[in-house]
């Protein structure tokens, strides 16, 4: 019994401390080093923040260069696909257009809703136009998806005035917020991420709610008033209640799926090439 325990100990010791032909470091040393780095990174300090920022910038740039052939290939694939499917898509679009034309536009409900939505879009556009001078455009460097985290890396950082918590839009529609700022790059947490919580307003009813990500493509609406029944295809906007996001940025339209109220985002997070970061004054210091 004690002999087998000794054998077990020898094997464990050998696995941890053995160094072979290409093993310049022992496993034990590297595990300790990883643990040390993890704990240093967990407790915020200026030195570690700077070191991480420099490392992040370096790796993001390297990654962006290493990924460029893949991006080029994807671009070519998309273009070829687009070319071949234009004809069939045109046919489908014509049919859809016909269907839409056949609908009853004179319905009072639709016209009121349309009027309200137009008003809301106008106000959101004004809000965005007011902030135009405070917008900066950034290129998407990386959009590696993880089963757990939904975020992208963009090509602007603290040098361009970006701060944590700033809202990010694409073609005028909200896509997420800044959660990590380096000198030359930033990480944007997308609305679908599990950690994303954004206060929104359902413009038609003036109802406030929280848009929460669940690691899926479509985030869900939470904290709606009890008994409130929401219809499909209702547009939601940022409420600006948190004091960070400007109010009136369009987010998406509601979809009811298996009793859950999801939001079909206007901006497709899988198709982002350039984004705009709104340089609000009231960014947050630490939220992620």
């Amino acid at each position: 019994m004690s002999a087998s325990r000794d054998d077990f100990g020898i094997v464990i010791r050998s696995a941890l401390l053995q160094r072979g032909a290409r093993q310049k470091f022992s496993l034990f040393f590297l595990i300790c080093l990883s643990g040390l780095i993890f704990f240093l990174d967990s407790f915020p300090s200026k030195v570690m923040d700077k070191a991480r920022s420099v490392l992040n910038d370096g790796i993001y740039v390297t990654s962006s260069v290493a990924t460029s052939p893949i991006r080029g290939f994807s671009y070519l694939k998309e273009k070829t696909k687009l070319h071949f499917f234009t004809y069939s898509e045109n046919k489908i679009l014509k049919e859809e257009l016909k269907k839409f034309k056949e609908q009853d536009f004179k319905s009072e409900y639709l016209s009121t809703e349309n009027k309200n939505l137009k008003k809301a879009i106008e106000s959101s556009q004004t809000a965005i136009e007011n902030n135009t001078q405070d917008n900066i455009s950034a290129k998407v460097l990386l959009d590696k998806e993880s089963p757990f985290l939904k975020s992208i890396i963009v090509s602007k950082g603290s040098r361009a005035g970006i701060k944590k918590g700033m809202p990010v839009i694409n073609e005028g529609y909200l896509i997420g917020k800044v959660v990590e700022v380096n000198y030359l790059s930033s990480r944007i947490l997308l609305l679908g991420d599990l950690n994303s919580k954004i206060p929104i307003i359902i413009e038609k009813f003036g109802i406030h709610a929280i848009l929460s990500g669940f690691g899926e493509k479509r985030p869900r609406l939470e904290y709606l008033p009890e008994g409130f029944e929401l219809s499909e295809a209702t547009t939601v906007f940022t409420s600006g209640k948190d004091g960070i996001f400007p109010p009136g940025i369009p987010v998406g339209k509601t979809i009811i799926d298996k009793g859950l109220i999801e939001v079909d985002l206007f901006a497709d997070p899988d198709q982002l090439s350039f984004v705009n970061v709104i340089l609000t004054e009231s960014s947050i210091k630490e939220q992620f």
């Binding site: 470091f25 990883s34 993890f38 590696k144």
Partner: protein, 172 residues
């Protein structure tokens, strides 16, 4: 000249698993296919590390495993040190199994891989849930582990064929 070329060729061929590991960590090549099948995602890095540590440790150094983990943390936005720890746990399990196993077959590799995935993801869970604010879905982690386990034989065959192509005896 011929010797230099031969040495270069053999070094390049031997470095393919390391290059592949770094490439997976640094680029946008994803091993998650949620656009096609919602729950399908697997950790190819685990498979590469486990296979090569178990079969041919001279190809994949622990230092490379550590650096690939650091790069992965930066790219994925995880607290630094999380991935190196999980990768090194997989590596440790590989070395341990290699030391205690006399004859290795696909099935011994495959079933001991469960232990490696289990301990690596346990470390990952403990670190993420206790020391960071990053939220993760346990079910996604479970599916990821499951598919990593299920895909192991496929990559075992591919890597074994690669080794056979190199003229390396498989059961050495």
């Amino acid at each position: 000249m011929a010797i230099i070329f031969k040495n270069f060729r053999s070094k390049l061929i031997n470095s393919v698993p390391i290059i592949f590991l770094y490439f997976l960590s640094i680029t946008e090549i994803d091993t998650q296919f949620s656009n096609y099948f919602q729950i399908l995602s697997f950790n190819l890095q685990f498979i590469i590390i486990y296979y090569w540590v178990l079969r041919d440790p001279s190809v994949l150094g622990n230092g490379h495993v550590f650096f690939a983990g650091i790069i992965n943390d930066v790219i994925m936005g995880l607290p630094m040190g999380t991935s190196p720890l999980t990768y090194l746990v997989v590596s440790f399990m590989g070395i341990y199994i290699r030391n205690v196993t006399v004859k290795m077959t696909l099935f011994t590799d495959w079933f001991t891989f469960i232990l490696a995935i289990f301990f690596a993801n346990l470390i990952y869970l403990i670190l993420i849930s206790n020391f960071s604010n990053v939220a993760i879905t346990y079910l996604d982690l479970f599916y990821n582990s499951l598919f990593t386990f299920l895909f192991y034989p496929l990559f075992w065959v591919i890597f074994n064929s690669y080794r056979a192509l190199l003229g390396v005896r498989i059961h050495d």
